[in-house]
Amino acid sequence: MKKVLLFLTLIVFCSFSSSSRAGETPQRIISLAPNMTEILFALGLGNTIVGVTSFCDFPDEAKRKPKVGGMSNPSLEAVISLKPDVVVMTIDGNPREFEERLRSLGINTYVFRARRLWELPQGIRDLGKALGVQERAETFAREFEAALERVGAGERPIGTHKPPPREKALFIVWPEPLIAAGPGTVINDALTLIGLDNIASKSRVSYPKYSIEEIIRRAPEVIIIGRGMEREGIEKISAGLLKRLHAVPAVRNKRVFYVSDDLYRLGPRTIRGIEEISRLVDR
Protein backbone atom coordinates (compact mmCIF):
# COMPACT_ATOMS: atom_id res chain seq x y z
CA MET A 1 0.00 0.00 0.00
CA LYS A 2 2.75 2.42 0.97
CA LYS A 3 4.59 1.61 -2.21
CA VAL A 4 1.51 2.28 -4.27
CA LEU A 5 1.00 5.60 -2.53
CA LEU A 6 4.60 6.51 -3.08
CA PHE A 7 4.30 5.58 -6.70
CA LEU A 8 1.15 7.64 -7.12
CA THR A 9 2.77 10.65 -5.45
CA LEU A 10 5.68 10.24 -7.78
CA ILE A 11 3.45 10.21 -10.83
CA VAL A 12 1.54 13.25 -9.65
CA PHE A 13 4.79 15.03 -8.79
CA CYS A 14 6.38 14.22 -12.14
CA SER A 15 3.40 15.34 -14.12
CA PHE A 16 3.11 18.54 -12.13
CA SER A 17 6.72 19.39 -12.64
CA SER A 18 6.44 18.86 -16.36
CA SER A 19 3.16 20.68 -16.80
CA SER A 20 3.23 24.07 -18.38
CA ARG A 21 2.02 27.24 -16.77
CA ALA A 22 -0.62 29.24 -18.59
CA GLY A 23 0.77 31.44 -21.31
CA GLU A 24 3.94 29.44 -21.73
CA THR A 25 4.20 27.59 -25.05
CA PRO A 26 3.93 23.87 -24.34
CA GLN A 27 6.43 21.64 -26.08
CA ARG A 28 4.38 18.45 -26.22
CA ILE A 29 0.74 18.75 -27.30
CA ILE A 30 -1.76 15.96 -27.86
CA SER A 31 -4.83 16.78 -29.93
CA LEU A 32 -7.91 14.65 -29.41
CA ALA A 33 -10.04 16.00 -32.27
CA PRO A 34 -9.47 16.42 -36.01
CA ASN A 35 -10.56 20.06 -36.04
CA MET A 36 -8.27 20.84 -33.07
CA THR A 37 -5.37 19.27 -34.95
CA GLU A 38 -6.09 21.52 -37.91
CA ILE A 39 -6.33 24.59 -35.67
CA LEU A 40 -3.08 23.75 -33.88
CA PHE A 41 -1.30 23.37 -37.22
CA ALA A 42 -2.77 26.68 -38.38
CA LEU A 43 -1.44 28.35 -35.24
CA GLY A 44 2.04 27.10 -36.12
CA LEU A 45 2.10 24.51 -33.35
CA GLY A 46 2.43 21.53 -35.70
CA ASN A 47 5.95 20.72 -34.55
CA THR A 48 4.92 20.47 -30.93
CA ILE A 49 2.08 18.00 -31.59
CA VAL A 50 3.16 14.58 -30.31
CA GLY A 51 -0.11 12.69 -30.63
CA VAL A 52 -3.39 12.85 -32.57
CA THR A 53 -6.52 10.71 -33.07
CA SER A 54 -6.85 8.21 -35.86
CA PHE A 55 -9.32 10.57 -37.55
CA CYS A 56 -6.82 13.45 -37.78
CA ASP A 57 -6.05 13.42 -41.49
CA PHE A 58 -5.45 17.07 -42.25
CA PRO A 59 -2.96 18.57 -42.97
CA ASP A 60 -0.92 15.70 -44.40
CA GLU A 61 1.69 15.95 -41.62
CA ALA A 62 -1.04 15.09 -39.13
CA LYS A 63 -1.33 11.61 -40.65
CA ARG A 64 2.29 10.92 -39.69
CA LYS A 65 1.86 11.85 -36.01
CA PRO A 66 1.56 9.04 -33.45
CA LYS A 67 -2.06 7.95 -32.93
CA VAL A 68 -3.70 7.74 -29.52
CA GLY A 69 -7.03 6.19 -30.58
CA GLY A 70 -10.42 7.57 -31.60
CA MET A 71 -12.21 10.73 -30.58
CA SER A 72 -14.73 9.08 -28.29
CA ASN A 73 -12.39 6.31 -27.13
CA PRO A 74 -8.79 7.53 -26.94
CA SER A 75 -6.35 5.30 -25.14
CA LEU A 76 -5.43 6.62 -21.72
CA GLU A 77 -2.19 4.66 -21.77
CA ALA A 78 -1.17 6.01 -25.15
CA VAL A 79 -1.84 9.55 -23.98
CA ILE A 80 0.13 9.15 -20.76
CA SER A 81 3.06 7.43 -22.42
CA LEU A 82 3.53 10.39 -24.76
CA LYS A 83 4.13 12.63 -21.69
CA PRO A 84 2.11 15.58 -22.97
CA ASP A 85 2.43 19.10 -21.55
CA VAL A 86 -1.17 19.63 -22.50
CA VAL A 87 -3.96 17.58 -24.04
CA VAL A 88 -6.23 19.67 -26.25
CA MET A 89 -9.81 18.42 -26.36
CA THR A 90 -13.16 19.63 -27.62
CA ILE A 91 -16.49 19.85 -25.87
CA ASP A 92 -18.03 18.46 -29.07
CA GLY A 93 -16.99 14.83 -29.30
CA ASN A 94 -14.54 14.02 -26.53
CA PRO A 95 -15.98 12.37 -23.43
CA ARG A 96 -15.94 14.57 -20.38
CA GLU A 97 -14.97 11.61 -18.17
CA PHE A 98 -11.77 11.25 -20.13
CA GLU A 99 -10.85 14.84 -19.44
CA GLU A 100 -11.58 14.37 -15.72
CA ARG A 101 -9.48 11.23 -15.70
CA LEU A 102 -6.54 13.03 -17.29
CA ARG A 103 -6.78 15.89 -14.81
CA SER A 104 -6.94 13.49 -11.89
CA LEU A 105 -3.67 12.04 -13.17
CA GLY A 106 -2.17 15.52 -13.13
CA ILE A 107 -2.11 15.97 -16.89
CA ASN A 108 -2.91 19.45 -18.18
CA THR A 109 -5.94 19.65 -20.39
CA TYR A 110 -7.46 22.35 -22.51
CA VAL A 111 -11.09 22.03 -23.54
CA PHE A 112 -12.06 23.98 -26.63
CA ARG A 113 -15.64 25.19 -26.17
CA ALA A 114 -16.53 26.83 -29.47
CA ARG A 115 -18.99 24.74 -31.47
CA ARG A 116 -20.77 27.38 -33.57
CA LEU A 117 -19.44 29.44 -36.44
CA TRP A 118 -19.32 32.79 -34.64
CA GLU A 119 -17.88 31.26 -31.49
CA LEU A 120 -14.73 30.18 -33.33
CA PRO A 121 -12.75 33.48 -33.31
CA GLN A 122 -13.12 33.89 -29.53
CA GLY A 123 -12.39 30.20 -29.06
CA ILE A 124 -9.16 30.58 -31.02
CA ARG A 125 -8.17 33.65 -29.01
CA ASP A 126 -8.70 31.80 -25.73
CA LEU A 127 -6.77 28.80 -27.02
CA GLY A 128 -3.93 31.07 -28.18
CA LYS A 129 -3.75 32.66 -24.76
CA ALA A 130 -3.58 29.30 -23.02
CA LEU A 131 -0.92 27.96 -25.36
CA GLY A 132 1.19 31.12 -25.47
CA VAL A 133 0.57 31.99 -29.12
CA GLN A 134 -1.66 35.02 -28.65
CA GLU A 135 -0.46 36.94 -31.67
CA ARG A 136 -0.91 34.16 -34.16
CA ALA A 137 -4.30 33.36 -32.65
CA GLU A 138 -5.32 37.01 -32.91
CA THR A 139 -4.30 37.11 -36.59
CA PHE A 140 -6.21 33.89 -37.27
CA ALA A 141 -9.29 35.16 -35.45
CA ARG A 142 -9.23 38.51 -37.27
CA GLU A 143 -8.89 36.85 -40.65
CA PHE A 144 -11.73 34.51 -39.82
CA GLU A 145 -13.97 37.38 -38.73
CA ALA A 146 -13.10 39.31 -41.89
CA ALA A 147 -13.90 36.30 -44.03
CA LEU A 148 -17.24 35.80 -42.27
CA GLU A 149 -18.01 39.47 -42.88
CA ARG A 150 -17.04 39.12 -46.55
CA VAL A 151 -19.13 36.02 -47.21
CA GLY A 152 -22.12 37.30 -45.27
CA ALA A 153 -22.05 40.81 -46.79
CA GLY A 154 -22.14 39.54 -50.35
CA GLU A 155 -25.68 38.40 -49.85
CA ARG A 156 -27.13 41.60 -48.38
CA PRO A 157 -27.46 44.52 -50.77
CA ILE A 158 -26.52 47.66 -48.86
CA GLY A 159 -29.22 50.23 -48.40
CA THR A 160 -32.18 47.95 -48.83
CA HIS A 161 -34.32 47.51 -45.77
CA LYS A 162 -35.99 44.34 -46.82
CA PRO A 163 -33.59 41.43 -47.22
CA PRO A 164 -34.06 39.48 -50.47
CA PRO A 165 -36.27 36.40 -50.10
CA ARG A 166 -34.16 33.57 -48.84
CA GLU A 167 -33.87 30.45 -50.93
CA LYS A 168 -34.99 27.32 -49.13
CA ALA A 169 -32.12 24.86 -48.83
CA LEU A 170 -31.34 21.44 -47.45
CA PHE A 171 -27.89 20.13 -46.59
CA ILE A 172 -27.77 16.34 -46.79
CA VAL A 173 -25.02 14.83 -44.68
CA TRP A 174 -25.82 11.31 -45.81
CA PRO A 175 -28.38 10.31 -48.47
CA GLU A 176 -29.30 6.80 -47.40
CA PRO A 177 -30.81 6.74 -44.81
CA LEU A 178 -31.31 10.45 -45.18
CA ILE A 179 -29.52 12.51 -42.54
CA ALA A 180 -29.77 16.30 -42.77
CA ALA A 181 -27.78 19.06 -41.07
CA GLY A 182 -30.07 20.68 -38.54
CA PRO A 183 -29.93 23.33 -35.82
CA GLY A 184 -26.77 23.95 -33.83
CA THR A 185 -24.43 22.76 -36.55
CA VAL A 186 -21.72 24.76 -38.27
CA ILE A 187 -23.41 23.83 -41.55
CA ASN A 188 -26.65 25.45 -40.45
CA ASP A 189 -24.76 28.59 -39.40
CA ALA A 190 -23.02 28.65 -42.77
CA LEU A 191 -26.26 28.29 -44.73
CA THR A 192 -27.81 31.13 -42.76
CA LEU A 193 -24.73 33.27 -43.27
CA ILE A 194 -24.83 33.00 -47.05
CA GLY A 195 -28.52 33.78 -47.10
CA LEU A 196 -30.10 30.35 -47.38
CA ASP A 197 -33.04 29.16 -45.33
CA ASN A 198 -32.28 25.68 -44.00
CA ILE A 199 -35.55 23.73 -44.02
CA ALA A 200 -34.15 21.40 -41.35
CA SER A 201 -33.23 24.19 -38.95
CA LYS A 202 -36.26 23.64 -36.72
CA SER A 203 -35.56 19.97 -36.01
CA ARG A 204 -35.06 18.65 -32.52
CA VAL A 205 -31.60 17.25 -33.03
CA SER A 206 -28.53 18.48 -34.82
CA TYR A 207 -28.45 15.74 -37.40
CA PRO A 208 -32.06 14.56 -37.85
CA LYS A 209 -33.09 11.55 -39.88
CA TYR A 210 -35.23 13.63 -42.18
CA SER A 211 -38.58 12.62 -43.64
CA ILE A 212 -38.51 12.41 -47.43
CA GLU A 213 -42.13 13.37 -47.84
CA GLU A 214 -41.50 16.47 -45.75
CA ILE A 215 -38.73 17.43 -48.19
CA ILE A 216 -41.20 17.16 -51.04
CA ARG A 217 -43.70 19.23 -49.11
CA ARG A 218 -41.22 21.92 -48.07
CA ALA A 219 -39.82 22.05 -51.60
CA PRO A 220 -36.22 23.25 -51.12
CA GLU A 221 -34.79 25.29 -53.99
CA VAL A 222 -31.22 24.21 -53.28
CA ILE A 223 -29.97 20.82 -52.16
CA ILE A 224 -26.39 20.42 -51.04
CA ILE A 225 -24.97 16.96 -50.54
CA GLY A 226 -21.82 16.51 -48.49
CA ARG A 227 -19.32 14.11 -49.95
CA GLY A 228 -17.98 13.25 -46.52
CA MET A 229 -15.36 10.56 -46.78
CA GLU A 230 -16.94 9.09 -49.89
CA ARG A 231 -15.23 11.26 -52.43
CA GLU A 232 -16.18 9.22 -55.46
CA GLY A 233 -19.29 7.18 -54.84
CA ILE A 234 -21.64 9.79 -53.42
CA GLU A 235 -23.34 10.58 -56.76
CA LYS A 236 -24.20 6.90 -57.13
CA ILE A 237 -25.47 6.62 -53.59
CA SER A 238 -27.59 9.76 -53.97
CA ALA A 239 -29.04 8.73 -57.33
CA GLY A 240 -31.91 6.80 -55.78
CA LEU A 241 -32.79 9.62 -53.41
CA LEU A 242 -32.72 12.27 -56.13
CA LYS A 243 -34.89 10.13 -58.36
CA ARG A 244 -37.49 10.11 -55.63
CA LEU A 245 -37.14 13.85 -55.13
CA HIS A 246 -37.52 14.56 -58.87
CA ALA A 247 -40.47 16.88 -58.31
CA VAL A 248 -38.61 19.11 -55.82
CA PRO A 249 -37.58 22.52 -57.29
CA ALA A 250 -33.90 21.97 -56.48
CA VAL A 251 -33.80 18.74 -58.48
CA ARG A 252 -36.03 20.05 -61.27
CA ASN A 253 -33.88 23.14 -61.76
CA LYS A 254 -30.61 21.21 -61.36
CA ARG A 255 -29.65 23.05 -58.21
CA VAL A 256 -28.22 20.00 -56.45
CA PHE A 257 -24.58 20.48 -55.48
CA TYR A 258 -21.95 18.18 -54.04
CA VAL A 259 -19.48 19.73 -51.63
CA SER A 260 -16.26 18.66 -49.91
CA ASP A 261 -16.00 17.92 -46.20
CA ASP A 262 -14.43 21.34 -45.47
CA LEU A 263 -17.53 22.47 -43.55
CA TYR A 264 -17.73 19.44 -41.31
CA ARG A 265 -14.95 20.60 -39.02
CA LEU A 266 -14.95 23.90 -37.20
CA GLY A 267 -11.46 25.12 -38.02
CA PRO A 268 -9.22 26.72 -40.61
CA ARG A 269 -10.97 25.06 -43.55
CA THR A 270 -14.48 26.14 -42.52
CA ILE A 271 -14.30 29.40 -44.48
CA ARG A 272 -13.24 27.53 -47.59
CA GLY A 273 -16.28 25.29 -47.16
CA ILE A 274 -18.62 28.27 -46.81
CA GLU A 275 -17.11 29.95 -49.86
CA GLU A 276 -17.48 26.72 -51.82
CA ILE A 277 -21.22 26.59 -51.15
CA SER A 278 -21.62 30.31 -51.70
CA ARG A 279 -19.92 30.04 -55.11
CA LEU A 280 -22.01 27.04 -56.20
CA VAL A 281 -25.28 28.56 -55.09
CA ASP A 282 -24.64 31.99 -56.61
CA ARG A 283 -23.92 30.63 -60.05
Partner: protein, 320 residues
Protein backbone atom coordinates in the same frame (compact mmCIF):
# COMPACT_ATOMS: atom_id res chain seq x y z
CA UNK B 1 -62.38 -19.22 -36.39
CA UNK B 2 -63.42 -18.17 -39.89
CA UNK B 3 -64.78 -14.92 -38.55
CA UNK B 4 -61.55 -14.22 -36.70
CA UNK B 5 -59.50 -14.92 -39.81
CA UNK B 6 -61.77 -12.63 -41.79
CA UNK B 7 -61.34 -9.90 -39.17
CA UNK B 8 -57.57 -10.23 -39.40
CA UNK B 9 -57.63 -9.90 -43.20
CA UNK B 10 -59.91 -6.88 -42.92
CA UNK B 11 -57.69 -5.32 -40.25
CA UNK B 12 -54.64 -5.86 -42.44
CA UNK B 13 -56.11 -3.98 -45.38
CA UNK B 14 -57.61 -1.27 -43.19
CA UNK B 15 -54.20 -0.60 -41.67
CA UNK B 16 -52.61 -0.50 -45.13
CA UNK B 17 -55.05 2.16 -46.26
CA UNK B 18 -54.76 4.17 -43.05
CA UNK B 19 -50.95 4.08 -43.22
CA UNK B 20 -51.17 5.44 -46.74
CA UNK B 21 -53.27 8.49 -45.94
CA UNK B 22 -52.05 9.32 -42.45
CA UNK B 23 -48.55 10.59 -41.74
CA UNK B 24 -46.70 13.80 -40.87
CA UNK B 25 -49.50 15.46 -42.84
CA UNK B 26 -52.85 13.82 -43.37
CA UNK B 27 -53.71 13.47 -47.05
CA UNK B 28 -57.39 13.41 -47.84
CA UNK B 29 -58.21 10.82 -50.51
CA UNK B 30 -60.83 13.17 -51.96
CA UNK B 31 -58.70 16.27 -52.44
CA UNK B 32 -55.33 15.30 -53.79
CA UNK B 33 -53.01 18.05 -55.06
CA UNK B 34 -49.94 17.20 -57.22
CA UNK B 35 -47.52 17.33 -54.27
CA UNK B 36 -49.71 15.02 -52.22
CA UNK B 37 -50.09 12.65 -55.15
CA UNK B 38 -46.33 12.53 -55.52
CA UNK B 39 -45.94 11.80 -51.80
CA UNK B 40 -48.71 9.24 -51.87
CA UNK B 41 -47.50 7.23 -54.84
CA UNK B 42 -43.75 7.44 -54.78
CA UNK B 43 -43.02 7.82 -51.07
CA UNK B 44 -45.79 6.43 -48.89
CA UNK B 45 -47.17 3.61 -51.03
CA UNK B 46 -43.86 1.76 -51.51
CA UNK B 47 -43.06 2.34 -47.86
CA UNK B 48 -46.34 0.88 -46.67
CA UNK B 49 -45.91 -2.13 -48.96
CA UNK B 50 -42.34 -2.73 -47.76
CA UNK B 51 -43.44 -2.47 -44.11
CA UNK B 52 -46.26 -4.93 -44.77
CA UNK B 53 -43.95 -7.37 -46.56
CA UNK B 54 -41.30 -7.19 -43.87
CA UNK B 55 -43.82 -7.64 -41.09
CA UNK B 56 -45.40 -10.58 -42.93
CA UNK B 57 -42.04 -12.24 -43.43
CA UNK B 58 -41.10 -11.79 -39.77
CA UNK B 59 -44.45 -12.97 -38.42
CA UNK B 60 -44.61 -16.05 -40.65
CA UNK B 61 -41.01 -17.09 -40.11
CA UNK B 62 -41.35 -16.63 -36.34
CA UNK B 63 -44.41 -18.86 -36.30
CA UNK B 64 -42.61 -21.53 -38.32
CA UNK B 65 -39.40 -21.40 -36.31
CA UNK B 66 -41.06 -21.66 -32.91
CA UNK B 67 -42.85 -24.80 -34.02
CA UNK B 68 -40.01 -26.30 -35.95
CA UNK B 69 -37.46 -25.82 -33.18
CA UNK B 70 -40.05 -26.51 -30.49
CA UNK B 71 -38.85 -23.43 -28.68
CA UNK B 72 -41.09 -20.51 -27.66
CA UNK B 73 -38.08 -18.17 -27.65
CA UNK B 74 -37.12 -18.80 -31.25
CA UNK B 75 -37.41 -15.87 -33.65
CA UNK B 76 -36.09 -15.15 -37.12
CA UNK B 77 -33.00 -13.53 -35.64
CA UNK B 78 -31.99 -16.39 -33.38
CA UNK B 79 -30.55 -18.42 -36.24
CA UNK B 80 -27.87 -15.80 -36.84
CA UNK B 81 -29.22 -15.08 -40.30
CA UNK B 82 -29.84 -11.44 -39.50
CA UNK B 83 -26.42 -10.96 -37.87
CA UNK B 84 -24.84 -12.35 -41.02
CA UNK B 85 -26.92 -9.99 -43.12
CA UNK B 86 -26.07 -7.04 -40.87
CA UNK B 87 -22.39 -7.85 -40.91
CA UNK B 88 -22.35 -8.05 -44.66
CA UNK B 89 -24.39 -4.85 -45.04
CA UNK B 90 -22.23 -2.98 -42.51
CA UNK B 91 -19.09 -4.08 -44.35
CA UNK B 92 -20.61 -2.65 -47.50
CA UNK B 93 -21.60 0.62 -45.82
CA UNK B 94 -18.28 1.12 -44.02
CA UNK B 95 -16.25 0.00 -47.02
CA UNK B 96 -18.14 2.48 -49.19
CA UNK B 97 -19.16 -0.18 -51.70
CA UNK B 98 -21.46 1.12 -54.42
CA UNK B 99 -21.03 -1.38 -57.27
CA UNK B 100 -24.78 -1.86 -57.67
CA UNK B 101 -25.73 1.72 -56.82
CA UNK B 102 -28.70 1.94 -54.47
CA UNK B 103 -29.16 -1.84 -54.55
CA UNK B 104 -25.69 -2.54 -53.17
CA UNK B 105 -26.59 -2.76 -49.49
CA UNK B 106 -29.85 -4.75 -49.82
CA UNK B 107 -28.14 -7.21 -52.15
CA UNK B 108 -25.18 -7.56 -49.79
CA UNK B 109 -27.57 -8.15 -46.89
CA UNK B 110 -29.42 -10.80 -48.84
CA UNK B 111 -26.19 -12.58 -49.79
CA UNK B 112 -25.00 -12.39 -46.18
CA UNK B 113 -28.29 -13.86 -44.98
CA UNK B 114 -28.24 -16.73 -47.46
CA UNK B 115 -24.60 -17.59 -46.70
CA UNK B 116 -25.23 -17.51 -42.95
CA UNK B 117 -28.37 -19.59 -43.34
CA UNK B 118 -26.40 -22.21 -45.27
CA UNK B 119 -23.66 -22.31 -42.63
CA UNK B 120 -26.23 -22.73 -39.85
CA UNK B 121 -27.91 -25.45 -41.91
CA UNK B 122 -24.63 -27.30 -42.36
CA UNK B 123 -23.79 -27.01 -38.67
CA UNK B 124 -27.24 -28.27 -37.72
CA UNK B 125 -27.00 -31.21 -40.09
CA UNK B 126 -26.14 -34.58 -38.68
CA UNK B 127 -26.99 -38.16 -39.59
CA UNK B 128 -29.04 -37.20 -42.61
CA UNK B 129 -31.14 -34.41 -41.12
CA UNK B 130 -31.48 -31.10 -39.33
CA UNK B 131 -31.67 -31.26 -35.55
CA UNK B 132 -33.52 -28.50 -33.69
CA UNK B 133 -31.02 -28.20 -30.84
CA UNK B 134 -28.06 -28.20 -33.18
CA UNK B 135 -29.68 -25.55 -35.39
CA UNK B 136 -30.43 -23.33 -32.40
CA UNK B 137 -26.97 -23.63 -30.90
CA UNK B 138 -25.25 -23.17 -34.26
CA UNK B 139 -27.39 -20.07 -34.87
CA UNK B 140 -26.70 -18.60 -31.45
CA UNK B 141 -22.97 -19.32 -31.75
CA UNK B 142 -22.75 -17.85 -35.22
CA UNK B 143 -24.74 -14.77 -34.28
CA UNK B 144 -22.37 -14.09 -31.35
CA UNK B 145 -19.42 -14.45 -33.70
CA UNK B 146 -20.93 -12.12 -36.29
CA UNK B 147 -22.04 -9.56 -33.73
CA UNK B 148 -18.54 -9.52 -32.30
CA UNK B 149 -17.06 -9.02 -35.77
CA UNK B 150 -19.58 -6.26 -36.41
CA UNK B 151 -18.64 -4.51 -33.16
CA UNK B 152 -14.97 -4.93 -33.97
CA UNK B 153 -15.38 -3.33 -37.38
CA UNK B 154 -17.52 -0.55 -35.98
CA UNK B 155 -15.14 0.28 -33.16
CA UNK B 156 -12.23 0.80 -35.54
CA UNK B 157 -14.17 2.80 -38.12
CA UNK B 158 -15.05 6.47 -38.28
CA UNK B 159 -17.92 8.01 -36.34
CA UNK B 160 -19.73 8.90 -39.54
CA UNK B 161 -19.67 5.34 -40.84
CA UNK B 162 -20.85 3.98 -37.52
CA UNK B 163 -23.89 6.23 -37.54
CA UNK B 164 -24.90 5.04 -40.99
CA UNK B 165 -24.39 1.41 -40.09
CA UNK B 166 -26.32 1.72 -36.82
CA UNK B 167 -29.28 3.34 -38.54
CA UNK B 168 -29.32 0.57 -41.05
CA UNK B 169 -29.05 -2.18 -38.48
CA UNK B 170 -31.90 -0.79 -36.39
CA UNK B 171 -34.23 -0.96 -39.30
CA UNK B 172 -34.90 1.77 -41.77
CA UNK B 173 -37.93 1.92 -43.99
CA UNK B 174 -37.42 5.46 -45.23
CA UNK B 175 -35.60 4.39 -48.38
CA UNK B 176 -38.34 1.99 -49.46
CA UNK B 177 -38.80 2.26 -53.17
CA UNK B 178 -40.91 0.52 -55.81
CA UNK B 179 -37.76 -0.97 -57.26
CA UNK B 180 -37.23 -3.12 -54.16
CA UNK B 181 -40.74 -4.48 -54.07
CA UNK B 182 -40.73 -7.08 -56.88
CA UNK B 183 -37.92 -9.14 -55.38
CA UNK B 184 -39.15 -8.57 -51.83
CA UNK B 185 -42.65 -9.66 -52.80
CA UNK B 186 -41.47 -12.76 -54.64
CA UNK B 187 -39.27 -13.99 -51.80
CA UNK B 188 -41.85 -13.27 -49.11
CA UNK B 189 -44.61 -14.96 -51.10
CA UNK B 190 -42.40 -17.93 -51.96
CA UNK B 191 -41.37 -18.34 -48.32
CA UNK B 192 -44.88 -17.96 -46.93
CA UNK B 193 -46.43 -20.34 -49.46
CA UNK B 194 -43.67 -22.89 -48.93
CA UNK B 195 -44.22 -22.68 -45.18
CA UNK B 196 -48.00 -22.75 -45.65
CA UNK B 197 -47.92 -25.97 -47.65
CA UNK B 198 -45.95 -27.56 -44.81
CA UNK B 199 -48.31 -26.34 -42.09
CA UNK B 200 -49.62 -29.82 -41.35
CA UNK B 201 -46.09 -31.17 -41.09
CA UNK B 202 -45.31 -28.31 -38.72
CA UNK B 203 -48.25 -29.31 -36.52
CA UNK B 204 -46.85 -32.84 -36.40
CA UNK B 205 -43.29 -31.71 -35.70
CA UNK B 206 -44.45 -29.75 -32.64
CA UNK B 207 -45.58 -33.05 -31.12
CA UNK B 208 -42.14 -34.59 -31.54
CA UNK B 209 -40.28 -36.53 -34.23
CA UNK B 210 -41.60 -40.00 -33.35
CA UNK B 211 -45.15 -38.77 -33.38
CA UNK B 212 -44.63 -36.96 -36.69
CA UNK B 213 -43.13 -40.12 -38.09
CA UNK B 214 -46.11 -42.19 -37.01
CA UNK B 215 -48.37 -39.67 -38.77
CA UNK B 216 -46.54 -40.36 -42.03
CA UNK B 217 -44.14 -37.42 -42.12
CA UNK B 218 -40.40 -37.62 -42.61
CA UNK B 219 -39.25 -35.18 -39.89
CA UNK B 220 -35.85 -34.43 -41.37
CA UNK B 221 -37.18 -33.66 -44.81
CA UNK B 222 -40.05 -31.51 -43.53
CA UNK B 223 -37.72 -29.63 -41.24
CA UNK B 224 -35.32 -28.96 -44.10
CA UNK B 225 -38.07 -27.51 -46.30
CA UNK B 226 -39.35 -25.35 -43.43
CA UNK B 227 -35.80 -24.18 -42.77
CA UNK B 228 -35.40 -23.09 -46.40
CA UNK B 229 -38.69 -21.18 -46.15
CA UNK B 230 -37.54 -19.41 -42.98
CA UNK B 231 -34.17 -18.58 -44.57
CA UNK B 232 -35.86 -16.98 -47.57
CA UNK B 233 -38.26 -14.99 -45.40
CA UNK B 234 -35.60 -13.70 -43.03
CA UNK B 235 -33.18 -12.85 -45.82
CA UNK B 236 -35.89 -10.95 -47.69
CA UNK B 237 -36.99 -9.00 -44.63
CA UNK B 238 -33.48 -8.03 -43.54
CA UNK B 239 -32.53 -6.89 -47.01
CA UNK B 240 -35.74 -4.87 -47.34
CA UNK B 241 -35.16 -2.76 -44.27
CA UNK B 242 -32.69 -4.05 -41.72
CA UNK B 243 -33.60 -5.59 -38.38
CA UNK B 244 -36.95 -5.04 -36.69
CA UNK B 245 -37.37 -6.69 -33.32
CA UNK B 246 -40.44 -8.04 -31.52
CA UNK B 247 -42.61 -9.08 -34.48
CA UNK B 248 -40.97 -12.43 -35.20
CA UNK B 249 -40.83 -13.41 -31.55
CA UNK B 250 -44.08 -12.19 -30.07
CA UNK B 251 -46.67 -11.87 -32.83
CA UNK B 252 -46.96 -15.68 -33.21
CA UNK B 253 -47.52 -15.95 -29.44
CA UNK B 254 -50.26 -13.32 -29.56
CA UNK B 255 -51.93 -15.24 -32.39
CA UNK B 256 -51.67 -18.46 -30.37
CA UNK B 257 -53.48 -16.81 -27.46
CA UNK B 258 -56.46 -16.12 -29.72
CA UNK B 259 -56.45 -18.73 -32.43
CA UNK B 260 -54.54 -21.73 -31.12
CA UNK B 261 -51.43 -23.23 -32.60
CA UNK B 262 -52.69 -24.93 -35.75
CA UNK B 263 -50.05 -24.00 -38.34
CA UNK B 264 -52.63 -23.66 -41.09
CA UNK B 265 -54.11 -20.70 -39.21
CA UNK B 266 -51.05 -19.60 -37.27
CA UNK B 267 -48.78 -18.98 -40.25
CA UNK B 268 -51.08 -16.76 -42.34
CA UNK B 269 -52.48 -14.99 -39.28
CA UNK B 270 -49.00 -14.25 -37.90
CA UNK B 271 -47.99 -12.95 -41.31
CA UNK B 272 -50.96 -10.61 -41.61
CA UNK B 273 -50.80 -9.32 -38.04
CA UNK B 274 -47.02 -8.91 -38.33
CA UNK B 275 -47.48 -6.89 -41.50
CA UNK B 276 -50.21 -4.76 -39.98
CA UNK B 277 -48.20 -4.15 -36.80
CA UNK B 278 -45.14 -2.98 -38.70
CA UNK B 279 -47.28 -0.67 -40.83
CA UNK B 280 -48.75 0.91 -37.70
CA UNK B 281 -45.31 1.18 -36.08
CA UNK B 282 -43.87 2.81 -39.17
CA UNK B 283 -46.84 5.17 -39.38
CA UNK B 284 -46.19 6.26 -35.79
CA UNK B 285 -42.44 6.53 -36.28
CA UNK B 286 -42.78 8.92 -39.21
CA UNK B 287 -45.62 10.97 -37.75
CA UNK B 288 -44.88 11.72 -34.09
CA UNK B 289 -42.12 14.32 -34.39
CA UNK B 290 -42.05 15.50 -38.00
CA UNK B 291 -39.93 16.26 -39.92
CA UNK B 292 -37.80 13.81 -37.97
CA UNK B 293 -38.27 10.06 -38.20
CA UNK B 294 -37.73 7.43 -35.53
CA UNK B 295 -36.59 3.87 -36.22
CA UNK B 296 -39.71 1.73 -36.63
CA UNK B 297 -38.14 -1.12 -34.64
CA UNK B 298 -38.33 0.95 -31.46
CA UNK B 299 -42.03 1.55 -31.95
CA UNK B 300 -42.92 -2.10 -32.66
CA UNK B 301 -41.41 -3.11 -29.35
CA UNK B 302 -42.86 -0.12 -27.49
CA UNK B 303 -46.44 -0.82 -28.51
CA UNK B 304 -46.13 -4.59 -28.76
CA UNK B 305 -44.40 -5.52 -25.52
CA UNK B 306 -46.88 -4.00 -23.05
CA UNK B 307 -49.76 -5.64 -24.91
CA UNK B 308 -47.95 -8.95 -24.88
CA UNK B 309 -47.27 -8.70 -21.13
CA UNK B 310 -50.91 -7.84 -20.53
CA UNK B 311 -52.00 -10.92 -22.47
CA UNK B 312 -49.51 -13.02 -20.57
CA UNK B 313 -51.19 -12.03 -17.29
CA UNK B 314 -54.75 -12.39 -18.58
CA UNK B 315 -54.65 -15.57 -20.61
CA UNK B 316 -53.77 -19.11 -19.67
CA UNK B 317 -50.48 -19.58 -21.40
CA UNK B 318 -49.45 -23.15 -22.15
CA UNK B 319 -52.37 -24.30 -20.04
CA UNK B 320 -50.78 -23.11 -16.79
Amino acid sequence: MKIRMFLIVALFFLVLVLALFLGPTVISPFAVDPTSREILFSIRAPRVVVAALMGMALGASGAVLQGMLRNPLADPYILGISSGASLSAALGILGGLTFLGEFTIPVLAFIGAIITGSIVGMMGWKRGGLWPERLLLAGVGLSFLFSALLMLIMSVSSDEGIRKAILWIFGDLSMSDWSRIPYGLSFVLAGTILAGTKAKALNALILGDEFAHSLGFTPHRERFILFVAVGLLTAASVSLGGMIGFIGLLVPHIIRFFMGSDGRVLIPASALVGGALLCVADLISRSVIPPMELPAGIITALIGSPYFLYLLRRKNVLGV
